[in-house]
Amino acid sequence: MDDRKTIGLAGTMAGIALAAGGAAFAGFLAQRHKQGDDDAPLYTRKRPGTDNPIVGRTVTIRKPREELYEFWKDFQNLPSFMENVESIREEGDARIWTIKAPAGRTVEVRTKIVQDTANQTIAWRSVEGSDIDTNGEVSFADAPGDRGTRVSLVMFYDPPAGELGRAIAKLFLREPEVQARHDLKRFKMLMETGEVTTSAHTNDATRKAKQQENEA
């Protein structure tokens, strides 16, 4: 958190989807199965009166664990289903995410992999030089029988602009929980069907085309 540089409002808003406190996230990963009395993931816990900073979602995808892991491991694939991520490029061991922000702006997020266990887990966090702080973890586990793989995406975030930042982000549909849910569904579609489902009637009416139009 200490090395976060001052950023503009647009950057703050876009960053919320991925923003996280690194140390807090590590603690969360360590403790998420220990807190509380039941076996449910921490992010499903009721917390009246507080803003739940943990975002998580699981989908079951009818594909082998290895195939899904390999696809995700190549971060350049992620923009094909992450709607607000324009591109991810590699620079040494860092990955530079170009993320769409409201009003046609973009912000850059610089991350490094903090855990990579083949066919099981990939975790990343932001490093110095990133516009915003972010942490994420995706894990892959066999589903029963021939149901494929359970894929869980967990993010811990600590909105820099607090409640106001979240509210503004929500207006722009960049609200992290919604974004994570939709992105994971698109990942599932892409893996199971080879394409991201759209009900658009013409190419100009797809969400992608409309987004580009808004940004132009």
């Binding site: 009818r62 849910r181 992105d183 599932k188 069907t193 489902t197 759209t198 009900s199 009416a205």
Partner: protein
């Protein structure tokens, strides 16, 4: 192209809209040759389904000629196909176990939230049936984009004319699944509420499945006559006490299976039905379920309740006690159309099933608004409307 679009309650119009395009590689574009107005389109027309937006192209019963294909479509230009109203990806868990109408991928990610909130799970994509089910443009148009065209459409042999096979898109498999969900046995007495298209096809299916007696319930004389011609005994609910009659006609036992082919806009005279109508009008979303309530009381203990009729919201005063105390089995759901199309096409080809008796009116697409109005208001004589985009206006019957 020209297309039938929704503008509000009882306001549909034929407008000029953009031609559809191939977007994903498994897409195909059809030139529509025949498309029908469905009883469930009247729920959209009556404004009781949420998530319909002005300009939406309606229609989920259609067939046509393939005019364009994406790279991974298995269809070929020039083929004639009937398209299931349920959109199914073929790759998810539910498609693999043939529960096609529960496809996990056919409703776009950003459209899934509304139905997930309402029902606990998102609905699959359906053609022309609100943004709750994906916001897809429907087939009451000159052209339509068909996603996952390698999974849904069934190719029709040239010698079978449109009208013989059009209803494979929805109402025939829906009637068939309605009967199948009733688990009909040879000695059964089966009662069917509603002699609209789905009810009539459920009657026909129950008879093909070997039911000993099928009893049809409605109040439109012509529709009851059609049921009679199919081999059913009939009850006019305006003249007869339905539950008492069913008890007598089933030898004092009650019906072994009951099928509610009416759904959310049931007619009825009970006071709670009037309250439900009022709630539906002011948008609380209570379904009028008088047919279903009656069916649950009429079925024998241990009997089966099948619900092909469409419901969208909640219902009040549901006879839960009767359901539990009589030990009933209930099965329902949007039709898993792709599961039935091949077998039903064979039954049409060998003459076991003929569904053309249902068609009362054929109209050019331009006259679709008149079709909606009359299908709703003249239910006795307008049993089924087929729209033909290629038909000249003066040819209309």
């Amino acid at each position: 192209m020209r297309a039938l679009t929704w503008h509000g309650t009882h306001d549909v119009r034929v407008d000029t809209v953009d031609d559809p395009e191939i977007i994903n590689s498994r897409d195909a574009i059809l030139k529509i040759t025949s498309t029908a107005i469905c009883g469930s389109d009247l729920h959209l027309y009556d404004g009781v389904i949420p998530g319909v937006r002005p300009g939406d192209v309606l229609g989920h019963e259609f067939m046509g000629e393939v005019v364009e294909t994406g790279r991974d479509s298995t269809l070929k230009k020039g083929q004639r196909v009937v398209v299931p109203f349920t959109i199914s990806c073929g790759g998810c868990f539910h498609c693999k176990i043939q529960q096609y109408s529960a496809c996990e991928n056919s409703n776009p990610a950003e459209k899934q939230d509304m139905s997930a909130t309402l029902y606990g799970h998102p609905m699959a994509g359906l053609f022309g049936y609100s943004h709750l089910t994906g916001g897809y443009s429907g087939g009451q148009a000159e052209y339509v984009r068909v996603p996952y065209s390698d999974v849904g459409p069934i190719v029709i042999p040239d010698h079978l004319e449109d009208e013989k096979v059009l209803f494979l898109s929805d109402i025939l498999p829906t009637g068939w699944m309605g009967a199948e969900n009733a688990e009909i046995q040879p000695d059964d007495t089966v009662a069917v509420w509603g002699c609209g298209p789905v009810g009539l096809f459920a009657i026909q299916s129950a008879i093909v499945m070997g039911a000993s007696k099928v009893i049809a319930i409605d109040h439109y004389p012509h529709r009851l006559e059609l049921a009679k011609q199919l081999g059913a005994e009939v009850i006019d609910f305006r003249k007869t006490d339905v539950r008492e009659a069913l008890m007598e006609m089933s030898g004092g036992i009650g019906c072994d299976a009951v099928i509610d082919a009416v759904g959310m806009e049931a007619h009825g005279f009970a006071i709670d039905n009037m309250i439900d109508i009022a709630k539906q009008k002011i948008g609380i979303g209570a379904d009028r379920a008088s047919a279903l309530k009656q069916a649950i009381l009429a079925v024998r203990p241990g009997g089966r309740v099948s619900i092909p009729g469409v419901y969208g919201g909640m219902t009040d005063k549901f006879p839960l006690g009767a359901l539990m105390e009589k030990g009933l089995q209930v099965r329902s759901g949007q039709t898993h159309v792709q599961r039935y199309t091949k077998d039903l096409l064979e039954k049409i080809e060998d003459g076991t099933l003929d569904t053309t008796f249902l068609i009362s009116h054929r109209l050019p697409l331009e006259e679709a608004p008149r079709g909606y109005k009359n299908f709703r208001e003249e239910q006795d004589s307008w049993t089924k409307v087929v729209l033909k985009p290629g038909m000249e206006q003066e040819q209309a019957a």
